[in-house]
């Protein structure tokens, strides 16, 4: 009969997607592959509590500085505020938590379990699982083929998007938890997979998708590979690309390559993409930046040949296409426009057309894989072979850094349950700053995702466009996006609707015609509560006044018979 409030979390949640106290939630939190506590973060940032916001983030994600800059922000695409006056710039707020949160004491490691876990791959997935496994008290070794840890964020994301000190600092936090790292150690080359398994109680494969795809066109061998170019640039090389450069592809890597080519001295850089520009998977900000830097984006074009003379690229042939769509098996097909063949002169062609896994190191010990060569896992990231887990691109196909982090965290708890038998559905950061099982907080059903139309109290919000950070298009190797100022971040965080999470504003109390509700709790922590539920008319004025859509209803037994 009286309302039931879906509450904001009051301590950092490490694992647990269904909470009893939070039975309604926002599209953004559901959309975040890393499981970031977005609304708790916006609450704290709005109050200027950046350090506390960062602490909540670290409970789910060891790399908020990276995701706060590079994530394709699924949250923002899902944000209910987009239907009013523009989505909340959640990614910038995550970065602001890092920028202004200062140095946070690391979480305390649990008592040692005596179990040893090996993780193959030192990218976001591998390091995330290492971070949580170490905090859970396990002995963890990460095997990394490259000289440096960090994976794609270190090797393939341009420094003007993600400064290297951010990568260093966040990787350092993982190592500070007691994680061992063996760099320059490729499993399958420097040590056999069998030996790694033999030495471990469990193994997580997190080798990503390191192989670059090519295209089935004449002269493809003369094209450069996008991630390779980015990697070389990231390592300090200055690959000679010439003055006219064409990048093939429409994802973030294509934009990174184009913007990098401009920084390496190319005057005329073009992106050729086979579908329409609106279909480009690259984040909108990245295509906007590329365009602002003078990059030309040509949609609905496919390359049909790369031309070279004496091994030096002279140009390419392209056709206009239409009606690009995926067929029943997920392959993209396009209709070439007859007579649209054109030659385009250029000095280099860069393919940024996707990545593939490389599981050769497993020899005959590979677990079940999909047709595309991705390792099949269950919800706990366990592969088909006992004691073997997989996380990140190797398990899901090329995705995002954020997804790799989320899978890495899930894999850690999957391994933990496998090794210790502790299978709580919820883990929190406890008062002693270490991870604690808290199964009693878990709900049996997933939260209801609140849609815009369910937020009747949306009239409480005045129109306010998103705040814009400063961006430089100066083709510098310095970071192009300045991030928010403190004040900007606090103002932007205030735009959050807090969909499905009570923000303790008390409008429901003010509007209850039966004076059934009241604000109760310690000073400064008052929140609406049902005080006289027996006098409730269940008129739902609490719900229609609520600016968060945070209210559901319960009915006493006498109303159910």
């Amino acid at each position: 009969m009286p309302p039931k409030y879906s509450r904001e979390i009051t301590r950092p949640i490490v694992l647990g997607e269904s909470l009893q106290e939070q039975f309604r939630t926002s599209p953004c939190e559901i959309a975040c592959p890393a499981g970031n506590p977005i609304q708790k973060m916006t609450t704290l940032v709005e109050q200027g509590k950046f350090a506390e916001a960062l602490r909540y983030l670290y409970a789910k994600n060891p790399f908020p500085g990276m995701t706060g800059r590079t994530c394709p922000h699924f949250c923002q695409s899902a944000c209910n505020r987009a239907k009013k006056d523009g989505c909340v710039r959640t990614r910038e707020l995550e970065r602001a938590a890092v920028d202004f949160g200062g140095s946070i004491a690391p979480f305390t490691r649990r008592q040692a379990t005596g179990k040893h876990v090996s993780i193959i791959g030192g990218g976001p997935a591998g390091l995330s699982s290492a971070y949580f496994l170490a905090l859970l008290g396990h002995d963890v070794t990460v095997y990394e083929a490259a000289p440096l840890l960090g994976g794609m964020p270190r090797h393939a994301v341009p420094a003007f998007r993600l400064p290297r000190d951010i990568v260093d600092r966040e990787v350092g936090r993982v190592l500070a938890c007691g994680v061992h790292a063996r760099v320059n150690t490729a499993v399958g080359r420097d040590i056999s997979f069998a030996a790694v398994r033999e030495a471990s109680d469990a193994v997580i494969i997190a080798t990503g998708a390191p192989l670059e795809k090519t295209m089935d066109v004449a002269g493809a061998e003369y094209a450069l590979k996008g991630v390779d170019i980015l990697h070389r640039a990231a390592m300090g090389e200055r690959p000679a690309l010439g003055k006219r450069v064409v990048v093939i592809g429409g994802g973030g890597t294509a934009c990174d390559c184009a913007s990098t080519a401009r920084r390496l001295g190319a005057d005329e850089v073009s992106i050729f993409y086979r579908r329409e520009e609106k279909d480009m998977p690259a984040p909108l900000e990245d295509t906007e930046q590329a365009r602002a830097e003078g990059v030309h984006i040509h949609a609905c074009r496919v390359v049909t040949a790369v031309h070279a003379e004496q091994g030096v690229v002279t140009g390419l042939t392209y056709h206009d296409v239409r009606d690009c769509r995926k067929d029943a098996e997920g392959r993209m097909t396009c209709a070439i426009v007859p007579g649209s063949e054109q030659f385009y002169a250029c000095d280099s062609v860069i393919f940024a057309v996707g990545m593939e896994t490389d599981l050769a190191f497993l020899h005959n010990a590979a677990p079940q894989c999909t047709r595309r060569g991705w390792i099949v896992t269950d919800a706990a990231q366990a592969a088909s072979i006992e004691g073997l887990f997989a996380a990140g691109d190797v398990a899901s196909g090329p995705a995002s850094i954020t997804q790799a982090i989320g899978q890495g965290r899930r894999a850690a708890f999957g391994v933990h349950a496998f090794l210790t038998g502790e299978k709580a559905r919820v883990y929190v950061i406890d008062d002693d700053n270490s991870i604690a099982a808290c199964d009693e907080m878990a709900a049996d059903t997933p939260p209801h995702v609140v849609e815009y139309e369910e937020i009747y109290g949306v009239t409480h919000y005045a129109d306010c466009a998103p705040h814009e950070q400063a961006v430089s298009y100066a083709l510098s190797l310095e970071e192009s996006r300045a991030g928010y100022t403190r004040e900007q971040a606090m103002a932007e965080a205030a735009r959050c609707f807090h969909c499905g999470h009570c923000k303790q504003c008390g409008t429901c109390v003010d509007d209850c015609p039966g004076y059934v509700l009241g604000m109760r709790g310690a000073a400064g922590q008052e929140r609406p509560q049902v005080i006289h539920g027996e006098e409730c008319w269940h008129c739902a004025n609490c719900r229609t006044s609520c600016p968060c859509g945070a209210i559901a209803f319960t009915f006493p037994l006498f109303m159910q018979v």
Partner: protein, 554 residues
């Protein structure tokens, strides 16, 4: 408004005071404001959620002169101008019909979503035994009161939220204001005005129980305790319909809500325990007939053992109709309906909906003449007609009339400090008392009396016992104790319940007949043709004076 402080509390002056901020109060405030008068609207609740309309509304009754038949003012008059209720053709034409369409368009412009057809005409359906299709469907009914509240606030109308009126002030036998107190802060307020509109609704439900025995789990707004009748009566105005506005509706078993109009008019069949569709025995329009007949009919079946259970069966109704009913109209009428339906597995399309006869309303209103003025000069009443549409339109006319009167007045009446001081002492008495009974005990006992003696079958002897017992309870009111302001508010409401129950018993004992209302009086089982007129009650030193018909007073 002008506000000042005195030893009596806060003093506010305005031109037109509207008591009650539900649909009729909002209508009254808008009607008065449109005449250019200063208007103040007061309610113990908050404008955005107060009144029956605060719980939502799925239909708005409107005669629009669009259809070829049954869609004009004369049809409204023919259907509603009955000797019994005292609604005259003038009242219906000027007070309801004239405002139906403008206020419908006002609501639409403000954001209420009405169903429209391809020609942009309002989609309307038929109900309540009416001859024409008069009911506009509303898609976002759960926010209609918020929309109306916003309109009121945008019209430069002063709003006094959270202030419970406890007395209408008079000067020389004319209304000149009211006193009340803020239920959150205890602030005592005196409002002086040239004219006053009573707009406190007609329906009060706390006099009886439904099967859940929770007096707040009911059809109509449970926070209305007929204070409009009580305040009007105490001020000397004649009150009416105490004997005939005793109503009930069928409820989904266990869930207090409006909505039976939509269910009945969807083509639903009511079935008894034997699975028989029986309403044809009681109304020639079956389930779509007069609501009293549905209650009478169901009660008769129940007395004969043909139920419970009773069901509304909508399984044969077209899918699109049922879908709109369950997922749009019912949640619009009561915004928690969807939650309750999910909790209980209610599914109109595939399962029968068990229903019960709900609580019996003991309500009524202050009697008015063709200008919506009561027998107390300068006191008008807007809570005359039925439904959201009737409340809003009737309220609008009452406000308009009150403002026209105020516009012609040079000054407002004098207020009497002694009378105000006495009202304040009485209002706060339970807070300061060493009393030993709670509002729950007093009010709950009153419900026991009414449930026992004042049900759908009654006798004169039973009503005499009821009167005796209600008066005994009223005599205990001095023992009430309130621990805080909220309990103080409920203590006052409990006394309202007792007062209106007493008036209802007295009025019903005068109406020595059966058949004009939902109850039957065993001693007088037949209709008395001489009683086809309203009964008015006016306070005198010896108890109420009774008047048959409106003419003697108005």
């Amino acid at each position: 408004m002008n506000t000042s402080q005195s030893t009596l509390g806060t003093l506010i002056e305005t031109d037109v005071l509207v008591i009650g901020s539900g649909a009729s109060g909002c209508g009254a405030a808008l009607g008065a404001q449109a005449q250019g008068q200063r208007v103040l609207i007061m309610d113990k609740g908050k404008l955005e959620s107060s009144g029956c309309l605060g719980g939502g509304n799925d239909h708005y009754m409107a005669i629009l002169e669009e259809d070829s038949e049954f869609d004009g003012a004369d049809d409204l008059i023919k259907f509603y101008a009955k000797p019994l209720n005292g609604w005259t053709p003038t009242m219906l034409r000027e007070g309801w019909f004239a405002h139906m369409k403008p206020l419908l368009l006002m609501l639409e412009k403000a954001g209420v979503q009405f169903g429209k057809d391809a020609q942009n005409r309002f989609v309307r359906t038929q109900g309540f035994g009416q001859p024409g299709k008069w009911w506009c469907h509303i898609a976002n009914g759960m926010i209609i009161k918020r929309v109306l509240g916003r309109v009121v606030r945008e019209h430069a109308i002063d709003v006094l939220d959270h202030v419970m009126a406890v007395k209408i002030l008079t000067d020389g036998g004319k209304a000149c204001g009211a006193v009340g107190w803020n239920v959150l802060t205890g602030e005592f307020c005196t409002i002086r005005a040239k004219t006053v509109v009573s707009a406190q609704g007609r329906s009060a439900t706390r006099g009886t129980n439904n099967s859940t025995h929770n007096p707040f789990n009911v059809w109509m707004y449970p926070y209305n305790t007929s204070a409009g009748v009580v305040l009007g009566y105490e001020a000397g105005a004649a009150v009416t319909e105490l004997d005939t506005y005793q109503r009930a509706t069928m409820l989904p078993k266990g869930y207090g809500c409006p909505g039976m109009n939509g269910i009945n008019s969807s083509g639903a069949h009511e079935l008894n325990a034997m699975g028989e569709r029986f309403m044809g025995k009681y109304d020639r329009m079956w389930e779509n007939g007069v609501r009293n007949n549905q209650i009478q009919g169901t009660f008769t079946e129940q007395m004969e053992g043909s139920g419970p259970p009773f069901y509304m069966d909508m399984r044969h109704v077209p899918e699109e109709v049922v879908k709109e009913l369950q997922y749009i109209l019912m949640p619009g009428d009561k915004a928690t309906f969807g939650d309750w339906a999910e909790c209980t597995g209610t599914d109109f399309q595939h399962k029968m909906l068990e229903v019960e006869i709900g609580e019996l309303i003991f309500g009524g209103t202050v009697a008015v003449n063709d200008h919506f003025e009561t027998s107390l000069p300068n006191l008008f009443c807007g809570s005359i007609f039925l439904y959201c549409s009737g409340a809003l339109c009737g309220g609008y006319e009452a406000g308009r009339q009150a403002a026209m009167r105020a516009a012609g007045m040079d000054s407002m009446g004098q207020i009497d400090a002694d009378s105000i001081a006495a009202a304040r002492t009485a209002a706060f008495a339970p807070l300061n008392s060493k009393g030993d009974i709670s509002w729950q005990e007093l009010e709950g006992t009153a419900r026991n009396v009414m449930n026992y003696y004042m049900g759908f079958r009654r006798s004169m002897a039973g009503m005499e016992r009821a009167l005796e017992k209600i008066r005994f309870l009223s005599a205990q009111a001095s023992r009430l104790h309130a621990g805080d302001l909220r309990e103080l508010m409920r203590c006052r409401e409990a006394q309202d319940v007792l007062n209106v129950c007493e008036l209802a018993i007295l009025a019903t004992m005068q109406r020595k007949e059966s058949g004009r209302c939902v109850y039957r009086l065993t001693d007088y089982p037949e209709l008395n043709p001489d009683m086809a007129k309203p009964l008015l009650l006016r306070k005198s030193a010896d108890g109420p004076e009774y008047f048959w018909g409106k003419a003697p007073l108005l």
